[in-house]
């Protein structure tokens, strides 16, 4: 069933290319980060299917695990970074409030 796996890989490559359009054309940075999350998960699936195609599944699943963990950390970190207008903690005076017209729900102070 190698042709089926290669067909799946081609479909996933097309879906990655379609997801990259949203990375280019997202009006906000959070749109781009959501599209990066989708492209990363599609990349994990591509790695798993490549493990089946090359018939070395243990190697490729290890690579997929590493990439999935990185893909988990990236949107969280960049989301918190861009929540504060793209400035880091050392540049601000340390109050740590979100950007101004935020309808704050009154949750925990940062």
């Amino acid at each position: 069933m190698n042709a089926f796996l290669i067909g799946c890989l081609l479909v996933l490559a097309g879906l990655i290319a379609l997801g990259l359009y949203r990375v280019w054309a997202g009006p906000t940075v959070f749109d781009r980060l959501v599209a990066v999350a989708l492209v990363s998960v599609n990349g994990v699936i591509v790695l798993v299917l490549l493990g089946l195609v090359f018939e070395r599944p243990d190697l490729f699943f290890d690579i997929a695990l590493g990439f999935a963990l990185l893909a988990f950390l990236l949107p969280i970190t960049l989301g918190r970074f861009f929540e504060r207008d793209g400035t880091s903690a050392s540049e601000r005076e340390g109050d740590g409030q979100p950007a101004s017209p935020a309808p704050d729900a009154g949750q925990e102070p940062t």
């Binding site: 999350a37 989708l38 599609n42 798993v48 599944p57 997929a64 893909a71 929540e83 950007a99 017209p101």
Partner: protein, 112 residues
């Protein structure tokens, strides 16, 4: 057994295609991320269940695939939720059907 695996993988690919289509078409960051978090995780689950039944799998690979599945099921919706929380606290406004011109004017404040 390979037939069942192929059917599950095609179903998983269908849901991932639905989530990619929703990412392109939806009008707002909240609806796009909602489609990515739910539909893609379901497609991932179905596809990995199909991969479990494939004949190329070895004994050491089953545990790694199970670990990958558990990590992805926990991590993907959590990451999208954290991203949407950051978007909400940065002032992203949801898409409404009333007065789109006013909504477009308010979109300019957080356009980056």
């Amino acid at each position: 057994m390979t037939i069942v695996a192929n059917v599950l993988m095609i179903a998983g690919l269908f849901f991932i295609a639905v989530s990619t289509y929703a990412l392109l078409v939806m009008p707002d960051v909240y609806t796009r991320a909602h489609a990515v978090a739910k539909s893609e995780t379901l497609g991932l689950l179905l596809l990995f269940l199909g991969v479990f039944l494939r004949p190329e799998m070895e004994l050491t690979a089953y545990g790694r695939l199970a670990l990958l599945l558990i990590i992805s099921l926990i991590a993907n919706p959590t990451a999208v939720h954290a991203l949407l929380r950051a978007a909400y606290r940065s002032g992203a406004l949801p898409w409404t059907t009333v007065d789109q011109a006013q909504a477009d004017r308010e979109l300019e404040r957080y356009r980056s």
